[in-house]
């Protein structure tokens, strides 16, 4: 049997989703953005919602997310994606709206927008990639940078006396009455990829059912910013990041709907 015999369409067991464009990704080798993009694209296609989905891209490494997933997109100013998503969903409730944000975008400059969109229980999905560093600008300290972790703006390690503590924003968001589903996933191993994909689907389904805001955090690494090989970075992430940011569901419920006070 030759290769030609094998690569017939009838033998195909897996293919690239049509919703992932053929544009060459700008992400560094080893980065998890590509995997997360692929999972989101696959879920959108499998749910058949590509014609009514609108994504909101952040400022950060994923600023060009709109180049890779074939749906309508709007590029937000740094941190403002949840505000954009709020308006997109409220003005066109039949649309499925998601944001895709990094830790600096979501948990530093956009903290107010994130908390208030979640607190209002906007029926949107927030995808949050936490790699504990500002990747696009060259590896500076993020709100989620671990204690003692070295970055370009804390080259001797994050001193929590000076810079405060790694922000567990997902735990904070889970406490808000507007969120229905807050989960922390990763994509560094096949089993985790399978679980992450299920979480993405559940988040989209929640938003369509009007259950409230769903937040899917992906604990990730930035091997370039961390100055490690991808293999080293994955190992370091498992040992250090998962200790601070443990994987699993933080919340799975439905927001309470308003009832007029009795007169």
């Amino acid at each position: 049997m030759t290769t030609k015999d094998i690569i017939k369409p009838e033998n195909l067991v897996y293919g690239k989703t049509k919703l992932l464009t053929d544009n060459v990704m700008h992400y560094c080798p080893g980065c998890s953005h590509g995997v997360i993009h692929k999972l989101i694209a696959e879920v959108i296609e499998e749910m058949g919602i590509q014609d009514r989905t609108v994504g909101v891209a952040p400022v950060g490494c994923a600023v060009f997310a709109y180049n890779y997933i074939d749906v309508d997109w709007q590029e937000a100013a740094h941190g403002r994606a949840p505000a954009l998503a709020t308006a997109l969903k409220r003005l066109n409730p039949e649309n499925v709206v998601f944001t895709y944000q990094g830790d600096g975008d979501l948990a530093a400059i956009g903290t107010a927008e994130t908390i208030h969109a979640c607190n209002r229980g906007e029926n949107i999905v927030i995808f949050f990639v936490n790699n504990a560093i500002y990747g696009m600008t060259g590896g500076q300290m993020a709100p989620t940078t671990l204690e003692g972790m070295k970055t370009a703006t804390c080259p001797y390690g994050r001193n929590t006396d000076i810079y405060g503590f790694p922000l567990k924003i997902s735990e904070l968001l889970a406490k808000l009455d507007g969120t229905c589903y807050v989960t922390r996933q990763s994509t560094h191993k096949t089993a985790n990829i399978v679980r992450a994909k299920k979480a993405i689907r559940k988040a989209f389904e929640n938003s369509m059912a009007g259950k409230g805001t769903s937040v899917v955090e992906f604990v990730s690494h930035c091997n370039t910013g961390w100055k490690m090989s991808p293999v080293q970075a994955n190992a370091w992430m498992e040992e250090h990041m998962f200790a601070k940011y443990p994987l699993g569901d933080l919340k799975d419920t439905e927001k309470k709907h308003y009832e007029e006070p009795a007169k």
Binding site: E75, A76, A77, R80, T86, A112
Partner: protein, 358 residues
């Protein structure tokens, strides 16, 4: 028969927004314009026209909601007052860069900083020179009555969609707070989603039946970014050619002309009446569009009048554009009050005599 109402300028804005088919308002409370959102909440337009009204967590968030709504092809607006408008500048720059239509209302108060809640016109530079970063222009309408507050919402959306450019209604605490009679515009239904999709093929409505749309202001290649800048410049030139609006108040036989906008133009009209009683032929040129600025009209006047007095509730901002238009042909003097003080007609006439007639 026309229905005449008595209301505040801020209230007229809200009624006009609902009546002209506005899809969404996003705001944050700040004096002296909080009546805009209060009136909208009282009107409950989501029960009648389906208009969305939302109080955001900040002015920053509100303008970014407007950015998204405009990107979705909707007729969306926000309102604020000077310190809040400063906060919105980042979003305004993005909206201008992405060439999206929206209406922004600034009911100006005195600054800088937290300043005062009393009226001012000191945000002229911010409004017409680009308050945010980068080369961009807003279409700037300056109402001087409650009637114009009502009229400029519809006009603002019309111009914003015609040029795919944000339109700023630059009002002030006098116009926002005072009550006057007003004829509200007739009810116009909101566009259906099918109409939005047809009118705005560029909008992020979901890619059903077409290639996907991307709203962004980001361009990494300088060669392409320069082309985008040049395209914007060309658009602004077209707006300058087509959309200049002004009111000529007795300039036909004037020896002297006050150039003034908004509430201070009302004071100048009273000053012109006082002056004419004393035999001084004073006219008032009131720019209605601050961008595009009525440069040609001022040049025409410069050829035949003896001088100009620019009157503003600021330290003198628009006067620079008047001087650019006059280009040294005739004297251009300035009189202004600041910090929330409104000039009187007597003060204006006195300044005219002292600074120009001598």
């Amino acid at each position: 028969m026309e229905e005449i109402k008595l209301m505040k300028g801020n209230e007229a804005i809200s009624h006009a927004a609902v009546r002209c088919g506005c899809d969404g308002y996003f705001g944050y409370p700040i004096t002296p314009q909080s009546e805009v959102m209060e009136t909208l909440q009282e009107l409950k337009p989501w029960e009648t026209t389906g208009m969305v009204v939302l109080q955001a967590e900040s002015e920053v968030s509100a303008i970014n909601m407007v950015y998204a709504g405009a990107g979705a092809g909707k007729m969306v607006m926000t309102s604020s007052s000077s310190p809040g408008i400063s906060l919105k500048q980042e979003g305004i720059s993005y909206i201008a860069a992405a060439e999206l239509p929206c209406v922004i209302l600034n009911v100006m108060r005195g600054g800088p900083g937290l300043g005062t809640i009393q009226p001012s016109q000191a945000d002229y530079f911010q409004s017409v020179k680009g308050g945010g970063h980068g080369d961009y222009r807003l279409i700037v309408l300056a109402p001087s009555s409650v009637q114009e507050m009502a009229d400029f919402v519809g006009l603002g959306f019309e111009l914003a969609f015609k040029y795919r450019n944000p339109c700023l209604i630059l009002s002030d605490g006098v116009i926002g707070q005072m009550m006057e009679k007003v004829v509200l515009p007739p009810f116009k239904p909101r566009r259906t989603q099918e109409e939005v999709v047809a009118q705005c093929p560029w909008a992020t409505t979901g890619k059903k039946g077409r290639a996907r749309n991307i709203i962004t202001s980001l361009e990494m290649a300088p060669e392409i970014m320069e082309q985008r800048n040049l395209h914007l410049l060309e658009k602004y030139r077209t707006i300058e050619e087509n959309e200049v609006r002004f009111e000529d108040y007795h300039c036909e036989d004037a020896d002297y002309v006050c150039v003034s906008f908004g509430s201070s133009a009302r004071v100048c009209k009273s000053a012109a009446e006082l002056a004419r009683h004393e035999g001084i032929n004073l006219g008032v040129l009131r720019p209605i569009t601050l961008f595009p600025f009525p440069t040609k009209k001022i040049q025409e006047l410069a050829a035949r009048v003896k001088g100009f007095l620019t009157v503003e509730m600021s330290a003198g901002q628009m006067v620079e554009d008047v001087r650019l238009a006059v280009n040294g042909q005739k004297p251009v003097e300035f009189f202004g009050r600041q910090g929330g003080m409104v000039p009187t007609a007597e003060e204006v006439l006195d300044a005219l005599k002292k600074q120009l007639i001598k």
